[in-house]
């Protein structure tokens, strides 16, 4: 088993439910964290919204399944989906291999940037990791 430290990247925003978002202007790229993919182990199926669908802050917008479990993915921000990572349909394991890169899920045009203030920064999320991984 991989006992190395969980990766938390600087410059991203995090939910305490283990989603991350990278802000590029008005666009937010969204995925699940290294901690989340480790907890899931083998990601075998991902269900994502379509381009044009609306995400609502803190509401489910998709599902990620491991061999044994189904988990809902929670929206870290509100907005309209402008791009979906279609590679995940055939290669859901990209979430395990590269959760912050190739494993990204959706890009959203944010409708309320103030919501970002409610998220954790890297420091805050690292503190949460310290508690969870004790």
């Amino acid at each position: 088993m991989n006992r190395s430290r969980t990766v938390v990247l600087e410059g991203l925003w995090y939910t305490d439910e283990h989603e991350w978002t990278r802000v590029e202007g008005d666009t937010a790229v969204i995925g699940i964290t290294d901690y989340a993919q480790r907890e899931l182990r083998d990601v075998v199926f991902v269900e994502l919204p379509a381009v044009g669908d609306k995400l609502t802050f803190r509401k489910d917008f998709g599902y990620v399944e491991s061999t044994k479990a189904v988990n809902a993915i929670i929206a870290p921000v509100s907005g309209e989906v402008i791009e979906v990572n279609s590679k995940l349909e055939d290669s859901p394991e990209l979430i395990n291999i590269d959760p912050y890169g190739e494993g990204w899920m959706v890009k959203v045009r944010m409708s309320n940037k103030d919501e970002l203030k409610e998220l954790l920064d890297a420091e805050g999320y690292s503190k949460l990791m310290e508690i969870l991984e004790k």
């Binding site: 439910e17 283990h18 989603e19 989340a36 269900e47 399944e65 044994k68 189904v70």
Partner: protein
């Protein structure tokens, strides 16, 4: 992320609490541990509650463990399985009467699959009966432990003695194409043990009873020993194994059995079904008398209202409790077990559907989060045994 508890999925992962002597379930009840508990913790297993037991769900990962069993070997702790001895001058008659299969031709060290039914034909549990020299040894399901023990005890007759030996006997399963080679390194004449039969053997200097059987579709052995020898046996088998051998947990046990279309009592068969709906008529012998026979004959004549079938989806994973739908989206059945098939890479499952749809290649759908995922009814096993 939010964990979604699937209807009837009793396999909730619970965090191990160091402050307590053992993990507790939601009701605060202490869980049973097998003699291999410390071994699992040492190996970094993810532990979960399984019907009152604290069991390893996975070590290195379900898919990796699954592939180890298909390609080389895996070792499972199955000490949680319910184990019962039946003794006495009337033991044979008792077993013939309370279960559907015919054990009159069962020789010493032979084993048979059988089903315990109620008077109305519904299933109490499915069981494996092993004939030992002076008694019968039964392997039954953890999830049905209380229901079955209660049933057996209320139907007890004079000349029969039933003992629950679950906590006295440890059980390991060594499964996979390399099993015989591995076990032969630490025991003798393993090749002489035929499929679905048992034998006494010394394994790494411990007394054991070994059956050539399993729940994976691969060649393999189930090894029964005294509890205090379990850790030593586990380690000896791991040491005798090639690099390909891996500890495997209940997660892989479930994906392996599902690829073979093997049913799980308490999940695919419950108080609601009889062996006829569940496709188990092969284990029902009409030539003898048994509890539930009259009811089953009536159902057989009238025809069943649902049948257990294998289903395969193009994409998506069927899971317990999901609806199976027909062409118009109308409900025609329900999924009882499902998973991704690590070998085939697609979602597979078992479920009950109306008899008119229960034919291979029938197009069906499975309702997953209000969306229909297309699939077909398929013949089980999903894989050929040993492939």
């Amino acid at each position: 992320m939010n964990k979604i508890i699937i209807k009837h999925e009793h396999k909730t992962i619970v965090k191990f609490e160091n402050d307590h002597n053992s993990m507790r379930n939601k009701e605060g009840k202490n869980l049973f541990r097998t003699p291999l508990y410390s071994t699992h913790i040492r190996l970094g297993a993810r532990m979960m509650e399984f019907h009152g037991w604290e069991m390893p769900v996975e070590y290195s990962g379900i898919i990796e463990e699954h592939k180890a069993v298909r390609e080389s070997a895996g070792i499972f702790d199955v000490s949680h399985m319910n184990k019962i001895t039946i003794r006495g001058v009337k033991a044979f008659e008792f077993l013939q009467n309370i279960s559907t299969n015919d054990i009159s031709d069962l020789g010493v060290n032979g084993m048979k699959y059988s089903i315990v039914c109620r008077d109305d034909g519904t299933i109490v549990d499915d069981i494996v009966i092993i004939r030992r020299e002076d008694h019968y040894f039964l392997i039954t399901n953890t999830s049905r432990r209380d229901v079955l023990m209660n049933w057996l005890n209320t139907h007890l007759v004079e000349g029969v003695k039933i003992d629950d030996v679950t906590f006295d006997i440890a059980a390991l399963a060594l499964q996979g194409p390399d099993s015989e080679r591995i076990l032969s390194r630490i025991s003798d004449k393993i090749d002489e043990i035929k499929f679905w039969s048992g034998a006494n053997r010394m394994v790494a200097d411990s007394d054991t009873y070994i059956t050539r059987s399993g729940y994976t579709g691969e060649d393999g052995f189930e090894i029964y020993s005294r509890s205090e020898d379990a850790e030593h046996l586990w380690q000896s088998i791991m040491d005798a194994g090639d690099r390909g051998i891996k500890p495997a947990g209940l997660g892989a046990r479930d994906t392996l059995r599902l690829e073979m279309g093997y049913i799980l009592s308490g999940t695919d068969i419950t108080d609601e079904e009889t062996p006829l709906e569940a496709g188990l008529e092969w284990a029902v012998k009409w030539r003898k008398d048994f509890t539930g026979k009259d009811a089953l004959l009536k159902i057989k004549e009238r025809g069943v209202k649902k049948k257990l079938v294998g289903i395969k989806l193009t994409r998506g994973i069927p899971r317990h409790g999901y609806d199976i739908v027909g062409d118009d989206g109308e409900k025609i059945g329900i999924v009882t077990s499902g998973t991704i098939s690590p070998t085939l890479g697609v979602g597979i499952g078992l479920g009950y559907i109306k008899p008119e749809y229960a034919y291979p290649d029938t197009k069906i759908g499975v309702m997953i989060r209000n969306k229909i995922y297309n699939g077909t009814v398929v013949r089980v096993p999903f894989l050929e045994a040993g492939k």
